[in-house]
């Protein structure tokens, strides 16, 4: 009997690895928040072949469609967590695998592509997905230039299938001198400028470089190659930076170097919000960070995200309050950042955009995810209330038109110990 159960469990796990066929699904009766347009009362979202096939108040429902009654419920695009290590880390500390940080050379690991180690069967993925996260952007950790980020949809499948886009940015630390192998911010900026200069020199003299006829370079070919899309403006640098003056310097650096940047953190961004907006630079930040935890973040405040938005900045809400692991174990909690952002002055619609379409826009995948528009991926969540409220649960989550109902590891543990003592053979 035990063996039979074990076998069943094995089947479950194996099944999870196979992409399920997408049905035609009609989600009806709910209030639909497409993000790309105004809310639709008593709206329908039709998903066919894994894509959004129709959205509106008067959608003809095909006879073969599976109907999902969302009366009284809220229907949104799948939420996106834009600063994650999901799928890269089993256990963050003291054992287990952690594939999120590279050794690098001289604190540069530009060629590092952490998604090559992405595990679509990581046990934390179902826990994120079942509470409404359908996509994440995964990033490397550490170093002056940490490496490249990737946009991933959360479903079990091979890497080429789950990748929405890679790379989507180059992680750059514009603030932590220790991570950058320097002692002062000015030294850090000089080092970064040197890398960009070398990249340009390499790009202009590749043949000579290969023939060994160039001056000695500080950085190897792999890193220089990886930096080419940055210096040509095709790949944005995602710069960790917090102090107002450093943000201004980052903007100046981007202008002078003719590189695209996205700011990450930006605790004091509200103090220079107009300048950030004028530079058309987007910001990834949270709504629960109000502690002067460093001398570079003395003016952290919870209204930061709302004030940036008010100034016209494209804001993507991420978890950066410092606790609770919104990057891995609690990836799903990004919706509470949105709730807190509203609590501190952002409009509800802006907060919804900040965890959906803004993330997609910033990382260049707005044609695929982040909104409910015809032709986009069928990443849809049905909530039993306001998605930013704690009491609300995601009741249906579709990724590319498939509802994955595989319980998370947390669910299995809960089931086993719901009644004590546990029955180790039953659950």
């Amino acid at each position: 009997m035990r063996t039979a159960r074990m076998a069943l469990l094995g089947t479950l796990v194996a099944a999870a690895a196979i992409a399920l066929p997408a049905q035609t699904i009609a989600i009806t009766g709910g209030t639909v928040y497409p993000v790309s347009g105004p809310a639709i009362k008593n709206g329908t979202v039709l998903i066919r072949n894994g894509k959004v096939a129709a959205v509106g108040a008067n959608v003809a429902i095909p006879a073969d469609a599976k109907k999902v009654d969302a009366t009284g419920k809220w229907v949104t695009p799948g939420f996106i967590n834009s600063t994650s290590v999901l799928g890269l880390v089993d256990v963050g500390f003291g054992g287990g695998s952690n594939e999120s940080s590279a050794k690098g050379t001289d604190d540069v690991s530009a060629s590092f592509q952490p998604w090559l180690a992405y595990n679509p069967l990581n046990v934390l993925i179902p826990a994120a997905r079942e509470q409404g996260i359908t996509g994440v952007v995964i990033w490397p950790n550490g170093n002056l230039v940490g490496g490249q980020g990737a946009f991933v949809d959360l479903f079990p499948g091979s890497l080429p299938d789950v990748l929405v886009k890679a790379p989507v940015g180059m992680a750059v630390d514009f603030e932590e001198d220790r991570d950058a192998g320097v002692q002062a911010r000015g030294e850090l900026i000089g080092k970064l400028a040197g890398l960009l200069e070398e990249t340009r020199a390499y790009m202009a003299n590749k043949a000579a470089y290969t023939a060994g006829k160039t001056r000695a370079f500080d950085y190897g070919r792999a890193n220089l190659e990886a930096m080419i899309p940055v210096v040509t403006g095709r790949l944005p640098m995602v710069m960790s930076v917090n102090r107002a003056a450093d943000i201004e310097e980052a903007l100046r650096f981007a202008r002078e170097q003719k590189v695209r940047v996205i700011l990450y953190g930006a605790s004091e961004g509200w103090m220079v919000a107009g300048k950030i907006a004028a530079a058309k630079v987007p910001v990834l930040t949270g709504a629960m960070n109000n502690i002067p935890r460093d001398f570079t973040e003395l003016n952290s405040r919870q209204e930061n995200a709302a004030l940036l938005r008010k100034a016209g900045v494209t804001v993507v809400l991420v978890g950066n309050a410092g606790g609770g692991d919104e990057e891995n174990f609690n990836v799903r909690n990004v919706r509470f950042e949105a709730g807190n952002a509203v609590g501190y002055g952002m409009t509800w619609d802006d907060a919804l955009a900040a965890v959906t379409t803004n993330a997609a826009q910033v990382f260049g995948v707005a044609d695929k995810v982040g909104a409910l528009k015809v032709g986009m991926e069928g990443n849809v969540v049905v909530w039993d209330g306001d998605p930013f409220e704690f009491a609300t649960r995601a009741v249906h989550v579709y990724v590319r038109g498939v509802e994955y109902t595989q319980p998370s590891r947390k669910d299995l543990l809960t089931e086993r110990y719901k009644n004590l003592p546990p029955d180790y053979f039953k659950n």
Binding site: G95, G265, I291, P292, G322, G324, D325, Y344, G345, R393
Partner: protein, 474 residues
């Protein structure tokens, strides 16, 4: 990119790193002569006495609010009268004295001041520079001799942020690098020139103990313990020493004329006070099996564990913990960040409550501590998701009367009942909504925070000149 999950305190890594039942009879006695030795009189039981005095207060009536009392069902359309630092009246029909400040609570909620049993404010102050890292005396596995209060910086800018979140009482603990981390201190979240000015009068001390990965990691290459079995040997040897010390002192104190007092030892003095029931044990422990071992050690040496802290696997042994009368200071949803935290589930608080345990939402985090109401809301929702009907009237206890009990202060704070300290929060909305703010906060009847009035927002010395804006208004 510098991802933000710091984990400093849950880890309590290296020294520099960031890292039920009724109260026992001893409680009552200790409240009269606190903190300290109850039946015996040590050389100086209270060498750093509290100098806290309540701030000036006005008689205040909050009327027509929804009141979550933590002592029974909510009062809709309720009023509460704060007078002379105490709750003078509460109900649906409370008359305002002529001199009372009357606050209309229509559409708003009132709760007791929230209490965090697990804080490191003041010992890991902001900014988190190395010079402010005062939470772990990670020099040897038993540092029962240190007292957290001697590290507390009253000008830590995190204190006013906690107050603005409706937190009125904190237990500040040493970190978890050591088997015995030292004494905790219970503070009121008030401005003062010294930690003594923040100390909760009459509060017992706590002893911080830590299980599992932290001590063995920190000392694995420094003489041990290197393993969990090494950890347990370390606890047991210390209790053997403490018991001998207690006997020697109690013998001397029974008849001081019979000779010189034994030589004092600060660490053993703290442990002996635990054995006498005068200091409450707060035990950092993640795994169910380790908590069970700590319970056996407590039985072996005759002390009680007041609360386990973190307890990400408390749900696996909730029945045992409830029976033992050990509170659970738990996170709503943290887990996974190390092996011993792997089995964290969102319904931990709810399952623990359902089993009859004293569930407490704790933080161990200066950000989470400001939003204990939000953390509780998550835990309540996780319960609902598996069919456990935790009401708001029950959940508010996770933030109030249950932590008050864990600190031995449930006769003074933690619920809104006549005669108790007037530690009160007026919320802009249901405190379990993500959109709610603490509008006003009173401690001992004095309004110490007003969201609508920047002049009623405490700014620490540190912030002057450095910080242009402290947050709170909008």
């Amino acid at each position: 990119m510098r991802l933000r999950f710091v984990l400093a305190l849950a880890f309590a890594g290296s020294a520099a790193a960031q890292q039920g039942p009724k109260p026992a009879a001893a409680d009552t006695a200790a409240h009269k002569v606190p903190p300290g030795p109850g039946a015996v009189a040590l050389p100086n039981a209270d060498p750093f006495p509290s100098t806290y005095k309540p701030f000036p207060s006005k008689t205040t009536l909050i009327k027509n609010a929804t009141i979550l009392t933590a002592a029974g069902p909510r009062i809709v359309g309720g009023s509460i009268l704060l007078k002379d630092g105490k709750i003078a009246a509460i109900g649906t029909n409370v008359a305002a004295p002529a001199d009372a400040v009357v606050i209309d609570g229509t559409g708003k909620f009132v709760t007791p001041g929230l209490i965090d049993t697990h804080s490191h404010l003041g010992v890991y102050s902001a900014p988190g520079v190395e010079a402010n890292s005062d939470g772990n005396e990670a020099v040897r596995p038993n540092t029962a001799y240190v007292w957290a209060e001697h590290s507390v910086w009253p000008q830590d800018p995190q204190f006013p942020r906690n107050l603005a979140g409706g937190i009125t009482t904190l237990q500040v603990l040493p970190g978890s690098a050591n088997l015995f981390g030292g004494r905790s201190v219970v503070l009121k979240v008030v401005p003062a020139r010294s930690v003594q000015g923040m100390k909760f009068p009459g509060a017992k001390y706590g002893l911080k103990m830590a299980c599992g990965e932290n001590p063995k990691r920190v000392y694995g290459n420094r003489g041990g313990p290197q393993t969990r079995m090494g950890n347990v040997a370390g606890y047991r040897q210390a209790w053997i020493d403490a018991e001998a010390y207690r006997r020697a002192w109690d013998k001397y104190l029974a008849d001081p004329s019979k000779g010189d007092p034994p030589r004092r030892d600060l660490g053993l003095e703290t442990l002996a006070e635990v054995l006498r029931g005068n200091i409450l044990v707060h035990n950092h422990c993640y795994r169910a099996d380790e908590m069970m071992q700590m319970i056996d050690i407590a039985h072996e040496f005759g002390y009680k564990i007041r609360s386990f802290h973190h307890g990400v696997e408390a749900y696996k042994i909730a029945d045992v913990l409830a029976k033992e009368g050990i509170a659970g200071s738990l996170w709503a949803d943290w887990g996974g960040f190390k092996m011993e935290a792997l089995d964290g589930i969102d319904a931990n608080l709810a399952l623990f409550d359902k089993a009859g345990g004293r569930a407490i939402t704790h933080s161990d985090d200066p950000s989470g501590s400001q939003r204990l109401n939000q953390e509780t809301a998550k835990g309540m929702a996780a319960g609902h998701a598996i069919g456990i009907d935790i009401s708001e009237d029950e959940a508010i206890k996770w933030n109030t009367i249950n932590p008050a009990w864990a600190l031995g202060l449930d006769d003074k704070i933690g619920s809104l009942e006549t005669g108790k300290n007037a530690d009160v929060v007026l919320w802009s909305a249901d405190p379990f909504s993500v959109y709610a703010h603490a509008d006003k906060v009173w401690i001992d009847g004095a309004m110490l925070y007003d969201r609508s009035d920047p002049k009623q927002q405490w700014r620490t010395d540190f912030e002057l000149g450095f910080v242009g804006f402290t947050g709170g208004t909008n």
